[in-house]
Chain length 186, copies 2
DNA sequence: GTCTATAGCTAGATAGAC
DNA sequence: GTCTATCTAGCTATAGAC
């Protein structure tokens, strides 16, 4: 196996960023090639099933990110739940660049091939909710209340990103993140 | 002027629906033609500036809808604010088909030509917020609190539509609508 | 005002040299 | 593994008959 001349992790990042910003239909192969620094044919070498595979790969990157930065952290009983919550909120702040970035889970649910991504998008939202619910339970909420609040946090984040993007006012996002601790208090 | 063989209002509706569902990049001229029942060339006759004008037109339809169903109703002092609120919530429920439909204001903010629609999308969100704030003030909230809650309602609606769409669970939307009255109580 | 036909281009995808 | 060159199909948009 030859050495890859372009760093795979950077390719991953650029695919994620481009699909997040432009959605599936808006992210053309030309733009993806320019963003990654690879020619189109090279992208097809890495992703033989084409653009759909690239978007699915971007989704899988998000799923791994959620596992590592939300689910694993949320389940770590060695850390106080308050501290875990602070960590996952900081991670989400970073993921969305303080509210400046779109969410891939949202942008991939609109377009001609939205159905192809729905299952994986749904499972990402479930993972996120599971993470928040884990912390909420350790903070003293009932499992039912924890799940309900965790789902509401997903809603707050998505709504704030839509409004922040549409109005260029990141405060929607910042304010929503700030509300989370109170929502999970017993 | 010859008679238009295809009802303009139905064309408007289909443009709105198609752009809402698929976004700007996903709504191809072919699909728009099929949806409206007009051939591509006929669509260009009605919208000489092409697809961008069609999307802007769909946006303007939404803006008019908001004026008529939210802003005007919210400002109508002849009706009790509680009743006005009920009406506008019912209208929003209808607009989004109980949470089954995407929001055009959201889908047009993602894609290669998102910048072209940002200003009008922003003004639609402002109109919506103004409507809710109007009612909130009449319900006894301070102007500052009214504006803050009205913006939060926009966020709730958008977030709930994203989650409802991604998970096929309309309860996200229904529950968010149900929360609105309490949010505007003095 | 609507249509058929088509121009001109870009899309996603592939072949084969290196 | 990456590239140039290219294919076909789809895209937006236009010309011109009716």
């Amino acid at each position: 196996m030859r050495t890859q001349k372009v760093d795979p992790e950077n390719v991953d990042l650029k695919l994620f960023e481009t699909f997040s910003k432009l959605g599936y239909d808006g992210a053309s192969m030309q733009l993806l090639a320019k963003a990654t620094g690879l020619k189109k044919a090279s992208l097809y070498h890495r992703f033989p099933d084409g653009k759909k595979e690239m978007a699915q790969h971007a989704l899988s990157i998000v799923e791994e990110w959620i596992q590592q930065n939300i689910v694993s952290v949320s389940a770590n009983k060695n850390i106080k739940p308050e501290a875990r919550l602070k960590k996952v909120i900081a991670s989400i702040d970073e993921l969305y660049n303080g509210g400046a970035n779109n969410c891939l889970l949202r942008t991939l649910t609109v377009g001609t091939d939205a159905d192809a991504f729905k299952e994986n998008v749904n499972s990402c939202f479930n993972l996120l909710a599971d993470g928040f619910a884990d912390i909420a339970i350790d903070l003293g909420l009932s499992p039912e209340a924890a799940e309900q609040q965790a789902r509401f946090i997903n809603l707050l984040i998505q709504g704030s990103l839509v409004l922040a993007g549409a109005t260029s006012d990141k405060n929607y996002f910042k304010n929503s993140l700030a509300k989370i601790p109170a929502l999970l208090a017993a």
